[in-house]
């Protein structure tokens, strides 16, 4: 996602955009481009919200309305200058988005889009009922933007203002995605569990992106008001909200530039249909809506991820993330002295309904140890694991970390204490590079916020995070893959990647959930060697494993579970001879 990737085509487009109004193009193109620019702004917000963050909203047009009405009222009734109202319009957008976001972003799946559909309609009708906003007639006579004596009246003059904002917003969005906060937002799509496990506050990341989308829409509304110079509720209705979403989805909901592409495509298509259809069909009946709807269906049937990825295929590009050698090191945790107890599980119990999944299990992990938690499938290993990491709550007993109880703590909080984990079914972001996946693990070691990210003020910290991610990749031996999409890796490499990501958290203890499952023999050997190396570096590890041969030569201590109950606990050699263990593993009556 580095912005230098498509440098040349971007420059060409930029120059083209800059000179276009000076060329002898039909002036109508400029009007159309202005509309595209404004729609692009809303669509960029939606790309962040829907494409990247996985939250669908139909209500963005209403946020445009807040931006537009704020400036319209302030400039016409109170004589504010348009530039003064810009921050106010954006602030109003943010202020409205905040409570709505608080209500809706915690809900999963389809509630959000349907919720936005409903309040999108409600807000539209509200605009038409408020006297201050001129009711249904709206507000006319909004002053144009001006600098000194120059007034941005004509289409080709405001064109520059609009597209400056579009490009700045797109770059800001691009910068944001290429940052610590952006990675957290991009991680939302993979489900909330994994990001929480390395310290991302998922609810806050969702709210952030919701508010940002609201602010970009408000910006579009502000521009709209000063371009149109008269507003009324119509452009902020739900059908416009739907259209913005269409632009984002058709363009390719995961791509910032796809938003501009989608907005152009939809608006140009509508123009073309209006011009061409009557001649094609030979009637003046209104077929535009039908053709437009049908095209939408067809496009999605052929290109589910939108059209931008299709466009990108014509411009194959390789990106490479440069690691700055002079990047400062991140602060490191003080390693506990070997032998001090880290995790103490005391009579941990978990019941699901009547089923006892974990039955009063106790064991301990000491610093500098590798402890194996083994047992047949369904023995309660993963549940125990989830209890330690806070993904599941205890029904009884307690779990202590460095002497402090973890009961009631969130996974995020536990991660912050220095407990890092991997997942049995790896939860990586396949579209993101290997390096960025690892950097996600270091999330809570950075502090850069949204604004710093957009303005690139956190580059030193970002370089440090990246350098740290690189260090961890080198540590686990995946350095050569750093720029590959994580989805390209083989399963074994993905498991190692997860370990690197966990290491990036600077953990005190590493919790690995079946790290050897699905690995080839050689890969298992490498993994074992890696874990031993980590232990040598002072890392403590608790690993859940099914494969006894893998753990035997590796662990210092073994805990065997069967049917939620601890059936053995001791050195690997002792455990192996234990008849109960043999019975559990081989079945029958050994």
């Amino acid at each position: 996602m580095s912005s230098s990737r498509r440098f040349i085509p971007a420059l060409v487009v930029l120059v083209l955009l800059a000179v276009l109004p000076q060329l002898p193009v039909p002036p109508f193109w400029i009007t159309l481009l202005n509309n595209i620019g404004i729609a692009s702004l809303v669509a960029i917000g939606l790309v962040l919200l829907t494409g990247v963050g996985g939250l669908t909203s139909f209500g963005q047009a209403a946020f445009c309305g807040f931006g537009a009405y704020t400036t319209a009222v302030l400039t016409t009734a109170y004589g504010f200058s348009p530039w003064m109202t810009l921050p106010l319009s954006l602030a109003v957008g943010a202020l409205i988005a905040l409570p709505l976001g608080l209500i809706t972003v915690r809900l999963s799946g389809h509630f959000l889009p349907l919720g936005t559909l409903a309040w999108g309609i409600a807000l539209y009708y509200l605009f038409g009922q408020i006297d201050l906003l001129g009711r249904h007639d709206g507000i006319a006579g909004i002053p144009p933007l001006s600098i000194g004596d120059y007034r941005f009246m004509s289409g080709s003059s405001i064109y520059y203002v609009i597209w400056t904002f579009v490009i700045l917003t797109a770059l800001a969005a691009q910068n944001l995605l290429d940052s610590r906060v952006g990675r957290a937002i991009r991680a939302l799509r993979g489900g909330g569990q994994a990001p929480e496990a390395f310290g991302v506050n998922v609810a806050r990341a969702k709210l952030t992106v919701f508010v940002l989308a609201g602010v970009t829409a408000a910006l579009a509304g502000w521009l709209y008001a000063h371009m149109q110079r008269a507003i009324n509720p119509t452009p902020f209705s739900i059908s416009m909200g739907i259209e913005y979403l269409l632009m984002a989805v058709i363009g390719g909901a995961g791509y910032v530039w796809g938003a501009i592409f989608g907005a152009s495509l939809v608006l140009v298509l509508k123009e073309l249909l209006q011009r061409l259809l009557p001649d094609l069909i030979g009637t003046t009946a209104n077929f535009e809506m039908i053709v437009f709807g049908a095209l939408l269906v067809v496009i999605l049937q052929f290109a589910r991820d939108g059209l931008w990825p299709v466009v990108l295929r014509f411009f194959p590009s390789k990106s490479s993330h440069r690691i700055r050698g002079d990047a400062p090191a991140l602060g490191k945790r003080e390693a506990p002295s070997p032998g001090t107890p880290l995790i103490r599980v005391e009579k941990a119990r978990k019941t699901f309904g009547g089923l006892v999944a974990v039955n009063d299990v106790s064991f301990e992990v000491k610093a500098g140890q590798i402890v194996g938690l083994i047992g047949p499938n369904g023995a309660g290993k993963s549940t125990t694991f989830d209890l330690i990491t806070g993904m599941n709550s205890l029904s009884g007993g307690q779990i202590l970390f460095e002497g402090k109880p973890l009961t009631g703590r969130s996974p995020r909080d536990i991660a912050r204490q220095g407990v890092a984990r991997t997942f049995q079914h790896p939860k990586i972001l396949p579209g993101m590079s290997v390096l960025e996946n690892v950097a996600l693990g270091a999330h809570q070691r950075g502090t850069g916020g949204v604004l710093q990210s957009i303005l690139r003020l956190e580059r030193t910290e970002e370089a440090a995070l990246m350098a740290e991610a690189m260090r961890q990749l080198e540590r686990v031996g995946l350095a050569e893959f750093k720029d590959r999409p994580a989805g390209d890796l083989a399963l074994g490499q993905v498991r190692i990647l997860e370990i690197a990501r966990a290491l990036a958290l600077d953990p005190v203890v590493l919790l690995l959930d079946e790290p050897a499952a699905g690995l080839r023999y050689g890969e298992k050997q490498e993994l074992a060697a890696l874990l031993k190396k980590l232990r040598g570096e002072g890392m403590s590890i608790l690993l859940v494993e099914h494969d006894m041969s893998f753990v035997m030569g590796l662990v210092d201590h073994l805990v065997v579970l069967d049917f939620g109950t601890r059936i053995a606990d001791g050195k690997p050699q002792e455990v192996r001879e234990n008849p109960a263990v043999i019975a559990a593993y081989l079945g029958g009556t050994a």
């Binding site: 809706t104 998922v202 989805v249 709807g293 269906v297």
Partner: protein, 344 residues
Amino acid sequence: MDFTIAAFLIQDGLTSGAIYALLGLALVLVFSVTRVIFIPQGEFVAYGAMTLSLLDSGKFPATATLLLVFGVLAFLLDLWDNRARLNAPVLLRNVGLNLVLPGVIYTLALVLAPMQAGPFVKALLTIVIIAPMGLYIYRIAYKPLADASVLVLLIVSVGVHLAMMGLGLVFFGAEGLRARPLSTGSFSLGFLPISAQSLWIYGSTIAIIVGLYLFFEKTLLGKALRATAVNRLGARLVGVRTQLTGVTAFVLAATVGAISGILIGPITTIYYDTGFIIGLKGFVAAIIGGLASFPITAIAAIGVGIVESFTSFYASAFKEIIVFSLIIPVLIWLSITVSVHEDE
């Protein structure tokens, strides 16, 4: 406000609530079985009402032509899909379902339209024209995307909605239509006059709810639909085809939509774009029902109708705002009580 007015308002709210309930149920049905948030459900209502109204005036309903067009499209798509193994039974099935069926209905409409048959014949004909549209729309728009994400399906729904609304505009024009009631006259319950049409609405809504209940509880196909909603993989493993349940859900939805149209057509003016806003009120109910619960959706729909009726009395200018804001407290409540789930 006195008791009389309250009684009037409640009656009015029940009438619209019953229609919203039908819409809400259809939405829940389609979503739980296919994961499609079926925005065009309202279009079936508009099509139903407008078809009936055209039949009332002895005109041939353009929806029958539309059905034929849909059928031909579905036929071509099926032909293309099966191009690798084109044998007689496959072809026969394709011709029968996609060409003969709409052809027969078209002819039926052609014969019956000018005859000015009784209201029930016309109502039945309306249902027969609209219901198969569910099948073809599923086939044309959704089947190729059966495993797509909810978001993609949602956007496809928007596309289908726009296309269907556009077709409505072309076929029915921009002006409103109103159908004749199934039976005229009214009864009085004390001081409260109750029109025969509103009795039809209550009766049909109850009948449809009971019918759906029986279908889901007593028939194997109904159980297969429920099974699909509960566990898609499990349903596939026992041999329930995704397409079968999908088609059934869509045909049921279209049928319920057509009936809603027949019921509402005579009590109000229906425009080509009315369906959307009525459908959205069904959505409010369906959201309150979590897009999963039939009974909660039905009750919520009645609630929406009654709230709407009372706000139209007290603050008519703010009616839409209030009705569509209804879901906000529900969402707040859900956001507090429901624990955060992993998305699918």
